[in-house]
Symmetry: C2
Subunit: 709 residues, 2 copies
């Protein structure tokens, strides 16, 4: 395993070596993510020493000072230095000078000016920003620029002029299906700040849980949450913590569907007969509010009034998705109301409901946000549409005059690869919009729905992929170099641990729990070689309720397996290039040997950990793949073409090994296909000969567009 | 590294194989820690399945139900099962029946009845306890009994009758020198509960920080804490969280010395002239209260009154240690007071001060606890002495009629090996006490002083060693089998992660921060092969203030290196036993090869991480040790004795490599000495021939008794 991981690291470090942008004054590989709008490296460096001091000229405010403190403490952790305490009095002698024009808007806003410039020379670094928020963004860039070599720590000489491409760059966290407590939210806010995200969308109510304290209607959280909810004090804490990092908090109260947990305490809001219990399964359920009765609006008016004072953001999300209309259809009073008011169908009735909600929100100074389904000719024009249906749907709402945010290609709960999200653009070339229409696309939000995560694993589902999505939202559209993205992502991922995220350490905890005092070396290799099944397959392959512990192999595995990535890029690079092949053969051999040698040690752990019995066939297959890989390398080294029967049997084995089991896919199987074919054709890769086979395997490998939950 | 760690795990699993207690009806190795008073395994097992249900007969209370819930959730995490929710109605069909006589004392007390019996048969497990606290202790035993094999998960058939040897089994956490926040305290409380500890001693005030909110004297925490203190609400949270786990919280307010942080806001309490600032260095400082002025006592009366209502425990700790008397000597008024009151010296004046404090505490219903220095003929007899001076000092106070708790051999902040703590007994055979006197020794407390820890690393300094100390406090004195202790400790350590502790994951975070996107495989091996220097050497070798980040190699290393342990036990087992040597040679060879091969990969990381430059000589030495080990194995395999010059050069290399650098010791060096000598003497180990050399190395290896801080 050591060698496999060492090789993976070597490949990562080497990746993108040939693909750096050519238009920079000094060609220099950097670890910046998101890539700034404009970055020009120069010769030279600023040496970071124990004397590193910061001066603030122009304005200063508590938020700026707190941001400086976080930055300095992080630089200290990474350098081991103890910097002087307090700000430097003499700006000319300071290592870093911060010139900030003002504190920015009193409440974080979509209109905030986040631009900054950062100029680093041999004598000093200067950061200029119009607002404190812009300065905070610049601090993150500076943290990513820190580098070290035999001469010591340094910041490279550079001139950066930066501004975001989109003003709405968000992450949705569903805290309902599984409860995600305060500390997990806070560390994810720190992660978001590190990659310049600026919206935390809290999905606070669902069929499976009502997660915020309501003092006006305490039965909501008392009966709808199993005791797992944010107190109002905690909400204020989250909002303040986010604001301190230039991040808005947009709350979502999903309605008229997805409301079962409300109805446990308040069945009088329902369109159907009660009683109701918190839902423990996953899916779309029938429970819905009754949009025809005035007491429901009085309730919602009071509720939104309470929440409006708790959440200062100008936007409030009313959900609006996946109301199946069954309870409405079954309710004679509702049907009579619809007939009387000429509401043709459920969609029209929901539009009526939304119009009423919009008025309530307006009263409290809020703009309404909702999912695609709220689109309707009656929808007030100041509403914002969040799209799970995709770019074209979002473009259509922009054409109709609505602002929008894109979520469809960023469903990170579905375990797709980073690339799939990274290359999806909120404004793809295929979508034609006028400049004015295009401006209505405010940005995007990745969604972390919580059917399959716990506080222990959620970081490993969000990070590091979220950093690549953050780049899509911030950086110029032209930044699309995938190998270079992966290389930078590996560096950023480690820095994200420094702010408290646990995406790298989560797997070890799960695997050690299974292995007891035995070494987890082989088990770690297996977990790193598999990926969670993609899309909505997990629920079908391994059904579970809200109560399931989520501590099995799939929970220790991660999307976008690093080992598979290494094979994909490593083999792509080697196949057809004899000198490189010879240079890298030893490393690949070592990796395949470790695949092969995963047994018998892993079998002993499986024998003692019954919950791992589902992993036994995967371990056996990984060992077989190791043997196949070694055979392929041996053919390639010998110069003798592998027989067609060997090739066909090997490809069949890859296919079989790639089939999902235990809610995971052996992600290293398919990347080996080129190696197998290369062994049979002696480095003369013929895509033609592979075509039929590739068509079949690509259907396994390529994600289908995410369906909404 | 994989092989080294695999070998370490193999050695651990094998350890104690020959040393299991012989007096058990069914000889069975178990992972119980602390070992129960009486445990009798039987043939058979209870199969743990998805249907596992719990019934409560007799009394029940919220604390019992919460304890059951924690136990069941843990069993779910480890088995992957989803158990039925709610208690079983029919006790006869339940998997586990709990018979609890009553809830126990309303406030956790040193007089709590913690006994329980646990009987597991093929059809059912039955846990009986006099109190909820006894039942909680039994739940932890049950969690440790869970086992698995090809037939599935099970609890072995067993009859356990358990009771603690000492009623006071504590851990002191210093939250002052470095701030240790709420979540770290809570996860450590969970760890304490897992090994049946029952006292959290919170060291809340120090020269370097005042860590509790005082509403009566808010300048104390406002000016003395840098903003890092427990609010009163958080204190209540800690006390309730601890009580829920049957753990008392004893607060310490250290005085009359160690009080600088108080004096920042209240210089009028001081014996010397102000002004004062929070101390950032480590050591003993001059600042002291003025024990001659009545306003000081009025202040302390009000302060202790406030704290007495916050901390419900019957005991309150006044520190009393290391007051150097300098400020008293320099103050003419104090000297006059002493002369007038016939107080001969500082010790007498402090005794006067303590007597006054004791009266104040008594007024608030508290018994006074203090460190050895409070011992004085005037000390009220209901005071409790906590000894940092050792067993003989504690015995002396017991003879004088005082209750006491032992801390001296349990200074876990000093990085000694688990064995050193484990074998130290609060009532060693060398100390002669009457039964009545012996009863005054209430137990012990390990101390986690916080000069060299942060919230990120504190768990790795406390755990897993604390579990072995917990066994010393709970289990019969006869339980002293070191190899078996280490074997069980490795299993318990993993289970401690399950409650949220981060002792296993902390190093990875530090090392990845240094290595960036490079693999940490070799760096992990280096960190695992070294140990923090022992005793108070770190401050001398690598001085630092409270502001230092503590993120260097030493902070990623851990006391009692597992790799060194493996070499110690592995080599001990192999040397002089030819068949075993042949069986294990391959594993040892692999480990030494990995030592040798740590370069050049680690050099690349060191080149890019200047804070690791201090590790370069250690990496070079580890590589050399690997080569030496391989040479020794080669001599042993050949049957040809190594030349004396080789032996002497090799031993000299071990000596040099064992010298502390970068605040660590290369812990694998000295355990190799037997292998080197064996190679030179062809398995004929002559202790005599080694004697002179061993005398020298043992002085390096054997800890000196801890001096108090």
């Amino acid at each position: 395993m050591i060698r496999t991981f060492v090789f993976a690291a070597v490949v990562l470090v080497a990746m993108g070596a040939t693909s750096a942008a050519q238009d920079r004054p000094v060609l220099r590989r950097h670890n910046l993510m998101p890539v700034p709008k404009s970055v020009a490296f120069r010769d030279g460096r600023f040496a970071v020493r124990e004397t590193f001091a910061v001066a603030v000229t122009k304005t200063s405010d508590p938020r700026l000072l707190a941001g400086i403190d976080r930055m300095l403490r992080s630089l200290e952790r990474r350098t081991g230095f103890t910097f002087p305490r307090g700000l430097a009095k003499d700006a000319s002698a300071a290592a870093l000078v911060i010139e900030c024009d003002g504190p920015g808007l009193p409440v974080p806003s979509v209109d905030e000016n986040e631009t900054y410039t950062l100029t680093i020379g041999p004598a000093q670094a200067v950061l200029k920003a119009a607002t404190t928020v812009g300065a905070l963004r610049g601090f993150e860039t500076l943290r990513q620029l820190l580098d070290g070599d035999r001469q010591g720590y340094f910041l490279p000489a550079v001139a950066i002029d930066d501004a975001p491409r989109f003003p709405w760059r968000g992450l949705l966290i569903d805290v309902c299906r599984h409860w995600i407590p305060l500390d997990a939210i806070k560390r994810n806010l720190d992660g978001m700040a590190a990659v310049k995200l600026n919206v935390l969308h809290l999905h606070l109510t669902e069929d499976q849980g009502f997660r915020v304290e309501s003092r006006k209607f305490p039965k909501l959280h008392q009966l709808g949450s199993d005791g797992h909810f944010f107190t109002q004090e905690q909400i204020r804490d989250i909002v303040a913590y986010a604001a301190d990092r230039g991040i808005r908090v947009v709350p979502e109260f999903d309605m008229p569907g997805h409301v079962t947990s409300w109805l446990v305490g308040h069945p009088e809001l329902a369109a159907g007969p009660g009683p109701y219990e918190i839902v423990r399964e996953w899916g779309v359920f029938d429970a819905a509010f009754d949009p025809t009765r005035e007491p429901v609006y009085r309730f919602l008016d009071a509720f939104y009034g309470e929440m409006a004072s708790l959440f200062p953001d100008a936007y409030m999300h009313i959900g609006g998705d996946e109301n199946n209309g069954k309870q409405w259809k079954a309710n004679a009073d509702i049907q009579a109301f619809m007939a009387k008011n000429k509401l043709a169908d459920a969609h029209a009735l929901q539009a009526y409901f939304n119009a009423r909600l919009s008025k309530i929100l307006k009263k409290y100074g809020k703009r309404m946000v909702g999912w695609d389904e709220i689109l309707h000719p009656e929808l007030p024009k100041d509403s914002v549409v969040q799209s799970w249906r995709g770019q074209e749907s979002l473009a259509e709402s922009a054409r109709r005059g609505y602002s929008g945010i894109l979520s469809s290609p960023y469903y990170i709960d579905l375990s797709y690869r980073t690339t799939d999200h990274y290359l999806a653009d909120p404004l793809p070339p295929t979508v034609t919009l006028s400049p004015e229409e295009a401006k209505r696309v405010l940005g995007g939000e990745a969604t972390m729905w919580a059917e399959w995560v716990t506080p222990d694993t959620i970081d490993s589902r969000i990070w590091p992929r979220m950093a690549a999505i953050a780049e899509r939202f911030w950086s110029p559209a032209s930044i699309r170099d995938v190998p270079d993205m992966y290389r930078r992502l590996a560096a950023v991922s480690v820095q994200l641990e420094d702010v408290g995220l646990r995406h790298e350490s989560a797997a070890g905890l799960i695997l050690r729990r299974m292995a007891g005092s035995r070494s987890i070396a082989q088990l770690s290799l297996l977990a790193a070689a598999v990926e969670p099944v993609k899309g909505y397959r997990r629920g079908r392959l391994k059904p579970a309720t809200q109560f399931a512990p989520l501590t099995s192999l799939v929970d220790a595995s991660r999307p976008d397996s690093l080992v598979a990535l290494m094979l994909r890029f490593g083999i792509d690079e080697l196949v057809g290039d004899a000198p490189r092949f010879r240079a890298r053969k030893g490393e690949l051999t070592a990796a395949f040997e470790e695949f092969r040698n995963i047994r018998p040690a892993i079998d002993r752990i499986i024998d003692e950990s019954p919950m791992l019995q589902e992993a036994a066939p995967l371990a056996a297959d990984l060992a077989s793949l190791g043997s196949l890989g070694l055979e392929a390398l041996s053919y390639l080294a010998s110069g003798e073409a592998a027989p067609a029967e060997w090739r066909d049997a090997a490809l069949a084995k890859l296919m079989q090994a790639a089939e999902p089991r235990a809610a995971v896919e052996l992600a290293v199987a398919l990347p080996m296909r080129k190696l197998i074919v290369a062994a049979a054709e002696q480095l003369q890769l013929s895509e033609l000969g592979l075509k039929a086979w590739l068509t079949r395997v690509e259907t396994l490998a390529v994600p289908s567009p995410p369906a909404k939950k």
